[in-house]
Every structure is written in C-alpha cells, then in structure tokens.
C-alpha cells in the first residue's frame, strides 16, 4: 500500500527518524542505529514502488504535489519526479539504507551521527524531488550542515580542514546560485497570475522571461553562475580540490554518500535547472563544458595514477568518471550521449559506493590505506578480493559490467559532435584501466605481506552491504534497459528543448 | 555685519574648531569641550536661521534651548564616566585607555 503524498513521505520519513533518535537515552546506541535503519527502509520500499509504477512514456512530472508555501514570494511546496529524478531517488534510498548498515561500527556520538545522517538523507531526496527553485535551493544548502559535521566530527586526522574546505567551496557555488535564482525570480512573470515565480516548470518557459532576462550578457552571467555552482559539486577540474580532502577524511559511509549521491547533484542540477532555464546558453557553453569534462577525465585519471592512498585514488577516479557524465551531457546532436551520461550517473553511484565500502573494509582492519603496504591480500581475504575485483573491473569499464555500457554510450554519442575530444577521452579509459589494474596487482597479488596475513575475512554485515550493489553492477552490465527505459523519454524531451 | 552669513560663518568656524579639537586633543576634558563647541556651532545656526529666515514660529530658539539641555546632560554623563575612568587610570589622557583593542 502506498501512502498519498508519496514523495513527501519519502523525503521526510528519515527526518521523523532523526527526531525520534534525539529522544533515545544515551545508553541505548543500538536502539538509535535500529531506528535509523528503520527510517531508511520504507523510503527504499517506496522508491522501489515508484520505479515500478513510474510511467516511462510520460515526459511531464509525475507524483506531483504542489501547495503554496510562502505566498509573499510565490514560493510553492512543489514536488514531482521525471525520468531523471527516479534513478537518483532510487539510488539515494538504496545507498542511504546501505550506508546505515555500513555505519554500524560507529561508536562515538552515535545519536548525533545517525540523526545528522538521516537529515542528510532527507535533504538529498529533497533536492531530487524539488520543482520549485527556492525549495531546491533550501534542500541543496540544507545538505551542507549535516555533511560538515559528519566529516568534521567522525572523519580522519585532517577532518577539520577537509570539512571547512568542503563547506567553503560548496557555499561559493551556492551563493552564486542564490543570486541567479533571484535574478530569474524577478526576471520572469507568471502569465496566469502576473506574479514572479520560482516554479522551475514555469521558468523553463522562455516566454515568461522579461526583457532584461533576455539580454545575452545577463543570460551568459546567469549560466556561468549556475555552472560554477554545479561544477564545484560535480566536481569539474578547476573546482575539484575540495573533493580528495573531503573523501579521504570522511568516514566510510559518508564517502559513499559523497561520491555516490552528492556528486550527482551537480550534474542533476545542470539537467534540472541550467538546461531548461537557459537552453540557448547551454548550447553556447556546450563545447566549454565538454572540454572541462575531458580535462576532468584525463586529469582525474592521471592524478589517480599517482596516488598511494587507496581512498584518494578512488576520489580522483570519481573526478575522472564524472568527467564522462559532463562530456555526455554536453552533446545535443543525439540523445545517445546524454542517455549514457545519466546512466553513468547511476552506475558511478553504485560502483563508487562499492569501492568506498571496500576501502572501508580494509581500513577498519588494517587502519591504513596505503596501496604499497599491502600485497598478496587475495590469499588472506579471497572473498574480499573477489568483491574488489568486481568493483575495480566495473570501474575501469570492463565489458559486461555496468560502467562499460554508460561510458560506451557517452563516447559513441559524443563522437558525432566532438571528434577530437572524444578520441582524447578514450585515453582516459586506458589510463583508468591502467591504474586500477596496477592497484589490484599491488594490493592483492604478488608476495603476501606477512604483517597482514591474519586479517579476518569480510564479515556478513559487510557482505550484505556490498552484494546488492554488486548485483546491480552485473545486471546493468548485461541489460541496462531498466535504467535506460526510465530516462529515455525525459532526456529526449530535454535534448529537444535545448536544441530548441 | 548684521547679516545671516556672519552668523553662519561663526557657526561653521565653531563647528570646525570643535571637530579639529576632537581629533587634535588627547585630554578627555579637552575633547569634551571640543564637542561642546560643535554643539554650539549648531545652536548658532539654529538661532541665525530662525532670526533671518523663518522668524514666525520660534522653533529655532526652542531647538537651541533643548540643545543646551541635552549638552548639559551629555556633559554630565561624559564627565561622570571620565571620573570613573580617571579613578582607575590616574590620567585623563585618551591614549592611556587602551585595554580594548585588536
């Protein structure tokens, strides 16, 4: 049975859990963890239902909820999902559930951790469901608070630095977005009511834009503002420096959320806001964005190659993989690339989540992540090696695993529009394969390091967090249609809108 | 001699002297006197404008009376604070008051 206002329930159910946790006495940490877990299960169930029931052929928004929120500013509580949101919502619900299990070994300040985590969960789902610019912004910013504390309190040795860096970088992007948001608000008039509007569906209608919002300079600056805001989140290369720090210092589950979901918000925001609101600028910026994507692919891969810290390696690989998404999203001559890009968003979410979980497993045991200090781990931990192998192969784009399809779609699609960029990007794949295989060899193969000879094998709880992701990776590798089905119609619409 | 501009000039002179005094004096009492000069400059302005430009309602004169009252109150309170500070510092030099900085 699904409740009415499904999206609201899905967004705010974790928040209820967070509220409940605050009242649990301090001596029952397990109860708090239990509540946190219980608060993520219904949203996952609802998200799964959403996935099944979602009308694949509709281009409009579904499960829409719209009530006036602040009349003085014509702000609405406006939720709805389309083909781009559904996979993201599903991914969020799934990873939140998995991350709660992965956080079971958190033992200090349990109450704070799980309450903040659930708050984070709420804000992430809110971002993916909001259709009112103002609401989108509120959720977008709301995410920063729990994230700051989750990195800053439960993180690694340089957690304070990483947390503030993350916060500062993202806030720069956010405040620019705020300014652009208000420019759009005053630059548009809702035809029906004569009021200004934050409604993204209305703002997407170019005819509501007032004269000054039609000026090229304003539009160009607005697009730039939004683009910087989102590029910081993705992160594209000149704006990426917060990411390795944040990833390395964050606790495992938070790295998973960061890489699995937060990075996607950048690309999601571009699809949801930049493209519909400023399609002409989207075309104008396409080559620039594709170039930044390419730079991210190559630069990320090269940096990853130079890392000795396993977590940092994965962090840089994320930059590289998100570069593919940006590249695919900048292609408007066909829908193949953009489909590949959104599929890559989903696939990267699952694969990188696996990778971070796996690093967490080894870090919990050995308390180091230095690639060179391991060796021959495959003998000690064969199951672990198996999972890691699968994740590494998926990440490097081995045919038969999910990332291969999305990256191939991106490259095939973008080749039509940007020949040189695409060819150069292909070297990124080779680099990726190189560093993952090399890492694999250094960690798992070769002579066994006696120091780590008695590391215990992966536990049942850890296996439980990894298995669903592994299944998805394999399944989507053979048959990507479950996701492509979902996003196809919406993306076709998006591309048509941008092309004009 | 008996024109508006004479008085305005006098007022401006007093006011400027007051400002100069506030910036130049290091003694608290001196600064207080300088501030009183500024107020007197304004008072003369009010009186002069009242006399030459808008004689009918005697608002300007009333204003001056109030300024005198306020100035007295201000001086009383400033002096009491200065005395309190003097008890601590044993000095009325403003430069000695530098506990708070940064």
């Amino acid at each position: 049975m699904l409740p009415d206002h499904l999206l609201s329930w899905m967004i705010f159910f974790p928040l209820l859990g967070a509220g409940l946790i605050l009242f649990v006495p301090k001596r029952y940490p397990t109860v708090m963890k239990g509540i946190a877990l219980a608060a993520t299960i219904p949203p996952l169930w609802w998200a799964a239902n959403l996935y099944v029931q979602f009308d694949r052929w509709g281009t409009g928004f579904q499960y829409v909820e719209k009530v006036p929120w602040i009349r003085a500013f014509n702000i609405h509580y406006y939720l709805g999902i389309d083909g781009i949101s559904v996979p993201m919502v599903l991914l969020t619900a799934l990873l939140s559930f998995i991350c709660i299990i992965a956080s079971w070994n958190i033992n200090e300040h349990v109450r704070g951790y799980f309450a903040l985590f659930l708050l984070l969960d709420t804000s992430m789902k809110g971002v993916f469901c909001a259709l009112d610019f103002f609401m989108f912004y509120v959720f977008w910013e709301l995410m920063l608070l729990p994230m700051y504390f989750l990195i800053g309190i439960w993180g690694g040795p340089r957690k304070e630095y990483a947390a503030i860096k993350f916060f500062l970088f993202t806030l720069v992007g956010s405040v620019l977005m705020l300014v652009v948001m208000l420019v759009f608000y005053f630059g548009s008039v809702e035809p029906a009511t004569g009021l200004h509007s934050f409604d993204l569906t209305i703002l997407a209608d170019q005819s509501v834009h007032q004269a000054f919002l039609r000026s090229h300079t304003i539009r160009w600056l607005c697009y730039l503002g939004l683009f910087i805001g989102f590029a910081i989140k993705i992160p594209l290369v000149p704006f990426h420096t917060w990411l390795p720090d944040a990833h390395v210092e964050a606790p495992t589950a938070i790295s998973v959320i960061l890489a699995g979901i937060l990075l996607k918000m950048g690309t999601y925001g571009i699809l949801r806001i930049s493209y519909p609101l400023l399609p002409d600028m989207a075309r104008e910026f396409a080559l620039f964005a594709a170039t930044l994507g390419l730079i991210s692919i190559i630069y990320g891969a090269l940096c990853a190659m130079a890392q000795t810290d396993l977590k940092k390696l994965i962090a840089y690989s994320s930059i590289s993989h998100m570069g593919f998404v940006m590249l695919g999203m900048s292609v408007f001559s066909n829908t193949t690339a953009i489909n590949g890009a959104v599929l890559q968003m989903f696939n990267h979410g699952t694969v990188t989540a696996m990778l971070f979980l796996l690093v967490g497993v080894i870090y919990d045991r050995a308390h180091i992540r230095d690639i060179d200090s391991f060796g021959g781990l495959a003998k000690t931990m064969p199951v672990y090696a198996g999972y890691t192998g699968l994740a590494f192969f998926a990440a490097l784009g081995l045919p038969g695993l999910s990332s291969f399809i999305s990256e191939a779609l991106v490259l095939v699609g973008s080749f039509q529009q940007y020949k040189i960029i695409t060819i150069t990007a292909t070297t990124g794949i080779i680099l990726t394969a190189a560093y993952f295989l090399w890492t694999m060899q250094r960690v798992f193969l070769g002579p066994q390091n006696k120091k780590w000879a008695d590391l215990p094998e992966i536990s049942l709880r850890e296996a439980f967090t990894l298995t669903p992701l592994a299944l998805i990776v394999v399944l989507l590798g053979f048959y990507p249609m479950p996701v492509l089905d979902l996003i196809g119609a919406t993306l076709k619409h998006t591309v048509a809108m941008v092309v004009g | 001699m008996n024109s508006l501009y004479t008085y305005l000039f006098l007022a401006a002179l007093l006011f400027s002297l007051g400002i100069f005094g506030v910036f130049q004096r290091r003694s608290l009492i001196g600064m207080l006197i300088a501030i009183e000069l500024m107020l007197n400059g304004a008072s003369i302005n009010f009186m002069a404008f009242n006399r030459f430009l808008a004689p009918d309602p005697i608002v300007g004169q009333i204003y001056t009376l109030f300024i005198m009252g306020i100035a007295a109150a201000e001086a009383a309170i400033a002096l009491s604070i200065i005395v309190a500070v003097f008890r601590r510092l044993r000095s009325i030099n403003i430069e000695r008051a530098q506990e708070l900085r940064g």
């Binding site: 602040i70 003085a72 500013f73 912004y137 509120v138 910013e141 709301l142 608070l145 700051y148 800053g152 309190i153 957690k159 304070e160 947390a163 503030i164 500062l168 720069v172 405040v175 620019l176 705020l178 300014v179 208000l182 420019v183 608000y185 005053f186 000054f212 | 305005l8 007022a11 006011f15 400002i19 506030v22 608290l28 600064m31 207080l32 501030i35 500024m38 107020l39 400059g41 304004a42 302005n45 404008f49 009242n50 808008a54 608002v59 300007g60 204003y63 109030f66 306020i70 109150a73 201000e74 309170i77 400033a78 604070i81 309190a84 500070v85 601590r88 008051a97 506990e99 708070l100 900085r101």
Partner: protein
C-alpha cells in the same frame, strides 16, 4: 490665546504615546522600589517590574486606531504609521530579552541591577519615541535619550576597567557624531525654515534644483550620515563598535547590537525616504534629483560588510568577533536601504526582526557560557559541545542563522536583502554580499568547529540553569520557525510599506 481644538487634539495625542507613558511609570516605580527597599534588592523583583512594564507598554496598542501614513499627533511631532506601530512591540521584545538575559547571567551585580533595568527601560522608551518622530527636534531629543542613556548602560559596571573604557569610547564617539548630525539638522532647518519633515521634504525637492542649495543638501546628508552610520555601526563610523561591545556587559552588548542599531535603521527609513526620495505611492522610489546618496550608501554597504567580515576572521574574543559580525550585518542591512524600493524597506524590517532573535541568541550563549565558568575567549569553547550540548547546539543554530543558511531565519532575511538589490538590478552589490557570506562562514564556523570538532582542553562541567535554557528556547523557536514558515511575518512587513 490657545485655541480649544489645539488642546483637544493634543490631549487625544497623548493616548498615542501610551506605551512610552507606561514605560515611564514602570521606571518611576522601579526607582521608588529601589529607594524604599534598599536592603531588599532582589533581582527578581526588578525583573518582574521591568518585564511587566515592557509587556504593559504594548497593551495600549490594541486600543489605538488603525495606523495610517498621514496620521500625525502631538502637533505633528509623531506619526502613527505601521512602522511606528510595529516598532513598539519590537523594542519591547528587545527590552524584555535584555532584562531576562541580565537576570539569568550574573554579569551585573545586584547593587547595580535596579539602575540597569531602569536604563534599559529608558533607552527602550527613547527608541520607541525615535522611530515615531517626524520632527527634527523630536528626532534629536529621542536620539539623545537613546544615546546618552546607553553610554551609561555600557559603563554600568563602574568598577570594571574594560566597562569604563568602553563607556568612555562610546560617549566620545557618540557625542561627536551626534553633534555632527545636529549640525546637519541645523542646515536643513535653515533650508526649510521648519523642523517638520513633511515641510522640509517639499523644500528639499525644490532646493535640489538649484546648484548652491544642492551643495548645502549634500553637506547636510553627509552630516546626517555621521549620526546614522554611527548608531548602525557602519563604515566609516564603526570603530567604536568592537571596543564597546567587548567592554560592555554581555547582555548590554546584545541590547546595543539589536536595539539602537534597529533604531538607527528605522531612522534611515524615516529620514532618507521622506526627505531625499520621491515616489511614495509607487513601489519604487527615486533619489531626489542631483543627490545620488543611494550610490554612496551602496559603496558604504559593500565596504562595511567586507571590512566587518575580514576583521572578524582574526578575533579570538567572541564578543569582539560578534561585534565585527554585527558591523558586517549593518552592511547587509544597508543593502535594503539603498535599493530604494518597498521591497528594500520590507527586507530591512524583516531582517531586523530576524536579527533580533539570532544575534541576541548568540550573545546570550556567550553570556551564559561566561557566567557558567567559561570565558569569552574562543579557547574555552573547545569541545564544549560534549560538555554543554544544549547550549552549543543552540549556539550553532544561531551562528548558522547569522551566516544565512537554510532552514534558519537568517537565510530568509538574507534572501529578502538580496532580492531587494537584485530587484533594483544592483548586481555588483549582490555578488559582493554573496562572497561576504562565504567569508563570514569561515569565522562563524571557527566557533562551531571549536565547540564540536575539537577536543576539550579543560573538563570543568558547564552547568546552565533551567531559566537560561528556557530563554534560549524562546530565541530558538523564532530562529527556526521563521526560517521554515515566514509567511505571517512576510504579510506583516508587506503591510508596512
């Protein structure tokens, strides 16, 4: 011979200053009690009397007629518009919060407590009068009532060296700037031959056409600005602010940072809009031709916020840090003034209301921590989150609200101010303010970081009494509530202009 109806109308007018009269009665009563019961100087008695007086002062508002922009009383000294009407409860709340904060923290000795409550009430009365005044004479009198008594409030801990020094600096700066402002008043009086703002505004519109009169106007505006920028702690008259805020007792600092500051901004609206702007009926105003004060103020705004934020980064004393932050906030608030629109005025009022709760909240936490055995230095906040979680979470919320992050009220206030300047297409100022928000994040987060991210250096248990917790809760509710649903307040401020 005084006409009959003159007396009649003035007698009627007295009912409009009911709030001020009730406050005066309360002041007299406290004075009397303080004299009659010299050996029974219990704080709680004075607190109850003062709070009752402040609460009673807003009661007459229900009896009075509907405010209207042209409803003046007491020989046109005051105007009874929505700004007047709503500022009375606003200042009453400021006063109540200050009194309660003084009550729950021990910073002010019992021996000075009754004087302190009297002064708070009197300054509150001055502020109430100030925002209602439409006459240069009344404005000056109310301005000085507010000013002179607040010098005393700052120096109320006479035996404390820092308090005395703060009062000294405050009184010197204050007297200097108010003298400058007064000179500006005198020039304006000379131009118009009247002290009534309405009469002056007609002359100003006329005079700005003539070059030599325009010069006089510009000088007058500059002199005005001295007084107003001083009270609002804006560049270039902000130097007193850190010293005074640090030296004054913390509850008084909280009071100064919201009370006189708010009064200063309301005075901006009272003086600048009728005098130097035209277009009262429209939603957009225009500066009187030839006097481009909005551009000057826009520059002042940008400099003020940048300066305040940059200086705050290096502060280790929390009161000093919050003082610089309050300078920065004055810069933000000026954005609403320069936007010359109804939206801008609304944004100023909205922000002042929001600022009241979050800023008093932040100072309240500082006062509580200091009186519970900590200090005002950031070092004593290390690891405080584990020792006093409730207070620290409250502090974090106030600070996040001051930064302007959703879902806290400060965010909405900032959206209002940003909206005001973007509405008028002053994009550069919006971008400057946006970047300032990022700078401010850094130093506010230093406190949050110390509280939650760092390990404690000492293990003294911080005990915060229940009364303090309740007071914090009373400040938290609006800080959070107005961030999530601010339609009621939005409606109120929309009705004002």
């Amino acid at each position: 011979m005084i006409p009959e109806n003159f007396i009649q109308s003035n007698l009627q007018g007295i009912s409009f200053i009911g709030p001020e009269l009730i406050l005066t009665l309360a002041i007299l009563l406290i004075l009397l009690v303080g004299v009659l019961l010299p050996y029974w100087r219990h704080r709680i008695l004075f607190t109850i009397l003062a709070v009752a007086g402040l609460a009673g002062s807003v009661l007459p508002l229900w009896k009075l007629p509907q405010p209207a922009p042209d409803l003046t009383y007491l020989s046109n000294l005051f105007v009874w518009d929505w700004l007047t009407f709503l500022s009375k409860p606003f200042f009453a709340v400021v006063g109540v919060l200050t009194i309660l904060l003084t009550q729950v923290t021990g910073e002010i000795d019992n021996s000075e407590y009754s004087e302190c409550t009297i002064l708070v009430l009197a300054v509150t009365m001055g502020m109430m009068l100030l925002v209602a005044s439409t006459d240069l004479l009344m404005i000056y009198l109310a301005f000085e009532t507010m000013g002179i008594l607040s010098y005393l409030l700052v120096g109320i801990r006479a035996r404390d060296e820092r308090s005395g020094e703060a009062a000294l600096k405050y009184v010197l700066y204050g007297a200097f700037t108010s003298g400058t402002m007064l000179f500006g008043f005198s020039l304006l009086f000379g131009l118009a031959g009247s002290t009534d703002l309405l009469a002056i505004s007609q002359k100003v519109a006329f005079a700005s056409q003539h070059p030599q009169d325009r010069l006089l106007l510009i000088v007058a505006i500059l002199f005005f600005l001295a007084g107003l920028l001083f009270k609002t702690a804006s560049f270039p008259f902000h130097f007193w602010c850190p010293d005074v805020y640090e030296g004054a007792p913390t509850p008084i600092t909280a009071f100064l940072s919201v009370g006189p500051k708010a009064a200063g901004f309301v005075l901006f609206i009272r003086l600048f809009y009728p005098l130097f702007a035209t277009g009262h009926d429209a939603t957009i105003y225009e500066a009187v031709s030839g006097l481009d004060w909005p551009s000057i103020l826009a520059l002042v705004s940008a400099i003020t916020m940048t300066l305040g934020n940059l200086a705050a980064i290096h502060q280790n004393n929390l009161k000093r840090l919050l003082a610089y932050s309050s300078i920065a906030h004055a810069g933000y608030l000026l954005m609403g003034i320069v936007s010359l629109s109804d939206l801008g005025l609304r944004s100023v009022v909205f922000y002042l209301v929001v600022y009241l709760f979050m800023n008093v909240g932040a100072f309240a936490v500082v006062a509580m921590v200091a009186s519970a055995g900590g200090s005002e230095e950031i070092d004593s906040y290390r690891g405080l989150g584990a020792r006093a979680p409730y207070v620290c979470v409250a502090m974090a919320i106030f600070l996040f609200s001051l930064i302007g992050l959703p879902p806290f009220a400060g965010f909405v206030g900032k959206v209002y101010l940003f909206a005001a300047v973007i509405y008028k297409k002053i994009y550069w100022l919006a971008v400057v303010a946006a970047l300032n928000t990022v700078i401010s994040l850094y130093y506010y987060l230093r406190i949050v970081k110390a509280m939650f991210l760092e390990k404690p250096t000492e293990t003294i248990q911080i005990q915060v009494p229940l009364s303090s917790r309740v007071l914090l809760l009373a400040l938290l509710v609006p800080t959070l509530g107005l961030g999530i649903y601010w339609q009621p307040l939005a409606r109120v401020v929309s009705g004002m202009f």
